[in-house]
């Protein structure tokens, strides 16, 4: 019997039980559990018995067993709140510096938190206006060619898959297919406007909630050559607003009848359009096109499903897999897998290719969340640190409260309440900062402006207050725990609570942590800044300076070119089909002249006879194009060195390659020139090195205008007015080449600015914390310093004595932060970025120096003040 007694149930579980359980039920429950425990030890062994005991304790946590909070305690707490607020207020006012540091630091970090909350709440609001938003799913596709595994999912599906689901599947309520391409210039009598939209089938308005103002939603998109249009688009096109039954002509081609007018699309929709055309139109126009319904043509259409209330999703996925297995046999070497994605996950979910509109993506949100968390943590540390540092003064008050009868819990709640008051004060300041920085945050990236509004709504304010309460509790809980453990007798006896010194190591750790974070953030910003400028100054292999690229938008270039060349500022004009190095690609298939079996995709641009000279491309051999009238057949091509290398043409010797015949896109062309390699993709992309240049076809897409003027804006305005004479429908789209290059790195630019801003906040917060600590320690050592001075210590010695400790902390922080940042970028981030610049000493050290300099000023000013104080007055004071 004795032996069994020695094995006891887990004590923490037993304590948990007696904590939550009603006293009248407690004894009974404890007894029962003990009896079972003893029984289980015999039958199942000690470990299992303990496990079962714990599980049972948790299981007994039910409504009828829980102790109800006692009314009298609540009443006392309620009465005491007034007293807490009063003492908290007094202590805030008494320590003005500490209060300012706390409130300001928390406010700064909370403002970032508010942006994050606003962002999350915007993203969460997406697509909620659909009545059945929780039941709508999108079909995603995964394309595997020749068993080359990849984890790239596409938001698009083939029309074939969508139709198969519609026709042969069960277990869904409605399915709709969307195909891109219903967009362009829309004409009605004399008015022409540019509108965007999709071809959709008749179920579209059933699956989604886009209400019709006019027209019948069940039949509106049934017949071929019918379309519905949004109210604002209708207003642009038909001034009198009566659109129903009218005919529009799309791109000077097909005519469509308007069968409905839609309410405008809400901002928080992941699909945006001005008009919709009936998908049945394509059944007429694409009748002969075999590719239209091919299984592997999955790049241009989307499928959305409305599932029933209790949908069997696993069963549906199995059916999708069966469909894939069946249809894979119709295409060569290709496997396409399908799966469902809820539309609520689209905006903040996985990054998918071929999205129907812009999305935010999980990674952006997560990285912003991480940064925000770190900054808020840092500000909370300040609060914790400074509160505990001031413990000496407050501990007497706590002692008296305890003597009068306050319990641990009362003291705890008092200090948590105090922290919450501070954080609520910070919140008001944070909201002001939030309103001030909101516009700057949104213009960081044009995408952000499209996606988010960050408007203050009552709901958002409620979230903010909740957030402030959580932050306050988090910041206040450690000081509160510390104070609640204070021994009243010791404190009141005048025994200076030595405990505050015991906490010194943990306080030092917090300071080191804050500085580590600040250093990492500032160094990361500097490294990103360096990469950004490295890519902007990247040697592309040709010249982009003073070139204006004008998007012709389908216009004939001749007249415009003639007028532009008459401008005195314009030096030279060339034509091309695309603008290299900005992230757009044209591809073409080229056969290896040495090996008929071998062919490869190469990058292509079509240019005119002036292009190479205007962009200062270097010709290694041969010549550039001659002017070729439009009706003469194409016979010539210019290639770069990489093409010679890839196909082993003429032993890679440029001179020999001239006159060599190659087959491109099925055409036999002879090489007339070889140019030096240049960067066809964006500067941070190493692919698509082989480039062929061909002569432009009937209509080029871009004019490249080389100019020489000091006042580009004036020139641009002049060109704009010339454009208006030629094309009154399309707005002028002329951009400086260098601006276009910059646009390619907008993402890097935005993340650099965000990281920079957060680094700035982290440094400010850490410096504020440091200031508080320095003020506190120097003040407490005032007497010591005075005595040393009287005994003959020099000012320099005293400075060294006072600041030594802080510099050790900073050195430790730097020693931790620098290698971590270096390894993070060198091993993880930069390898993902092709053509990056190596990390140099200056961007690693610059941040450290800046942060150290700020800390030096903070420490220096305070210590000098103390070191210079007159020892007589200090010592006389007591």
């Amino acid at each position: 019997m004795k032996e069994h007694n020695e094995i006891r149930p887990p004590q923490w579980a037993a304590r948990l039980l007696s904590w939550y359980c009603k006293p009248e039920l407690l004894e009974d429950l404890q007894g029962d559990l003990n009896e079972y425990f003893q029984r289980n030890i015999k039958s199942k062994g000690t470990r299992k018995a303990k496990f079962i005991y714990v599980i049972d304790v948790l299981k007994f946590f039910r409504l009828y067993t829980i102790r109800k909070p006692e009314f009298i305690n609540l009443l006392i707490n309620w009465i005491m709140i007034g007293s807490y607020i009063k003492t908290s207020g007094r202590s805030l006012v008494r320590n003005k510096l500490f209060s300012i540091i706390n409130i300001f630091g928390l406010a700064l970090s909370m403002s970032v938190g508010l942006i994050l909350i606003g962002m999350m709440s915007d993203i969460y609001s997406y697509d909620k206006f659909h009545v059945n938003h929780d039941r709508i799913y999108r079909v995603l596709s995964h394309h595997v060619y020749l068993n080359q595994e990849n984890d790239n999912w596409f938001a698009t599906t083939s029309l074939k898959a969508g139709k198969a689901i519609q026709e042969s599947f069960t277990g869904f309520e409605a399915a709709t297919l969307i195909r891109r391409g219903f967009e362009g210039d829309v004409k009605h009598s004399e008015t022409t406007v540019r509108l965007g939209g999709f071809f959709v089938d008749n179920n579209f308005l059933k699956v989604f909630t886009f209400p019709l103002v006019e027209g019948n939603s069940t039949t509106a998109l049934q017949e071929p050559f019918t379309a519905v249009i949004t109210e604002s688009a209708a207003l642009k096109l038909f001034a009198d607003k009566k659109a129903l039954g009218k005919t529009i002509i799309l791109n000077n081609d097909k005519a469509y009848t308007i069968t409905g007018v839609l309410k405008d699309i809400p901002k928080f929709s992941h699909i945006h359009f001005d008009m919709l055309g009936s998908l049945s139109t394509r059944e007429v126009t694409e009748k002969e096109n075999k590719n239209e319904l091919a299984w592997d043509n999955m790049w241009n259409s989307w499928t959305y499903l409305l599932m029933p209330e209790k949908a069997n999703l696993t069963n549906f996925k199995e059916k999708l897999d069966q469909l894939s297995a069946k249809e894979d046999s119709t295409v060569k070497h290709t496997h396409i897998e399908l799966k469902l994605q809820p539309i609520d996950d689209i905006m903040g979910g996985e990054g998918l290719s071929n999205q129907i509109g812009m999305t935010m993506g999980k990674y952006v949100i997560l990285s912003f969340l991480g940064l925000t968390f770190v900054v808020i943590l840092s500000a909370c540390f300040n609060y914790t640190n400074l509160s505990i540092a001031r413990a000496l003064r407050r501990s007497k008050e706590v002692g008296i409260r305890k003597v009068i009868g306050a319990l641990k819990g009362n003291v705890l709640s008092q200090f948590v309440a105090e922290a919450v008051i501070v954080s609520l004060l910070s919140l008001t300041m944070a909201v002001v900062i939030f309103i001030l920085i909101k516009p700057h945050f949104l213009i960081l990236n044009p995408d952000l402006q499209e996606l988010l509004t960050l408007n203050l709504s009552p709901m958002l304010i409620a979230y903010f207050i909740l957030f402030a309460i959580i932050i306050g509790t988090a910041a206040g809980i450690f000081p509160a725990l510390y104070f609640s453990k204070i021994n009243a007798v010791q404190v009141l006896k005048g025994n200076p609570s030595i405990q505050s010194l015991g906490k010194l190591t943990s306080r030092k750790t917090l300071v080191v942590f804050q500085y580590c974070i600040s250093l990492m953030l500032i160094t990361s910003t500097l490294i990103m800044y360096k990469q950004y400028h490295h890519f902007l100054d990247f040697d592309l292999g040709y010249n982009t300076k003073d070139i204006l690229n004008i998007n012709l938008q389908g216009n004939n270039p001749d007249g415009l070119m003639k007028e532009l060349s008459e401008l005195p500022e314009v030096k030279f004009i060339s034509q091309s089909n695309m603008v290299p190095s900005t992230g757009s690609y044209w591809g073409v298939n080229m056969n290896n002249p040495n090996n008929p079996q071998d062919s490869a995709g190469v990058a292509m641009n079509r240019i005119d006879e002036n292009y190479l000279q205007l962009h200062q491309h270097q010709l290694l051999a041969g010549r550039t194009f001659n002017f070729k009238p439009k009706d003469v057949d194409e016979t010539e091509v210019i290639v770069n060195e990489q093409v010679l290398k890839r196909f082993e043409i003429s032993d890679r010797i440029p001179d020999k390659a001239i006159g060599q015949e190659v087959k491109i896109d099925g055409k036999r062309l002879s090489i007339i020139g070889v140019i030096k390699d240049f960067q066809y993709s964006r500067a941070n992309n190493k692919s698509r090195n082989e480039v062929v240049l061909r002569y432009i076809e009937a209509k080029p897409d871009f004019l490249n205008v080389k100019f020489s003027t000091k006042d580009f804006q004036a020139l641009n305005e002049k060109i704009k007015s010339i454009w208006k004479q030629y094309d009154s429908i399309h707005p002028y789209q002329g951009k400086l080449y260098e601006d276009q290059l910059k646009e390619g790195f907008r993402g890097l630019d935005a993340s650099m600015k965000v990281a920079g801003f957060i680094a700035f906040l982290a440094i400010v917060i850490a410096s504020l914390g440091m200031l508080g600590m320095v003020v506190f320690t120097t003040e407490t050592r005032m007497k010591e310093v005075s005595i040393r001075k009287v005994l003959g210590a020099s000012e320099g010695k005293l400075l060294y004595l006072l600041s030594k400790g802080f510099f050790t902390l900073l050195a430790i922080a730097a020693l931790i932060a620098m290698p971590v940042t270096y390894l993070f970028f060198d091993r993880i981030m930069l390898p993902m970025l092709a053509n990056h610049a190596p990390i140099a000493v200056n961007e690693m050290s610059l941040g450290v120096l800046a942060v150290l300099a700020i800390a030096l000023i903070v420490i220096g000013v305070q210590t000098i003040k103390i070191a210079r104080s007159n020892p007589a007055t200090v010592l006389k004071a007591e």
């Binding site: 019997m1 004894e27 009974d28 007894g31 003990n34 009896e35």
Partner: protein, 110 residues
Amino acid sequence: MKGTNLGEFEELVLLTIAALVNEAYSVGICDELERQTKRSVKLGVVHSVLNRLEEKGLAKSKLGEATQTRGGKRKRYYSITSAGKAALLRSKEVRDQLWNMIPELSLKRI
């Protein structure tokens, strides 16, 4: 009223309390139910049912002696009240009536 009807498990527990007479405490009831129904009976479920029965006034309880196996904690013994007895009888009556309504032929055919 919700409280007057007996659930199936409640009825079983109440019957067990009546059957065990002086030994009706939570673990004992639990064991007896397991033995009788041949299915596993969870202590937590029995507890909440006992609690409910007492609230409804169908059973009453008093604390008994402490034992070594219970870690020095006292047992709570349950006994059936007259309201409990009435509820049991009523539900038996309902069952009997229904049984009597079934013609013997129709049962034999199954």
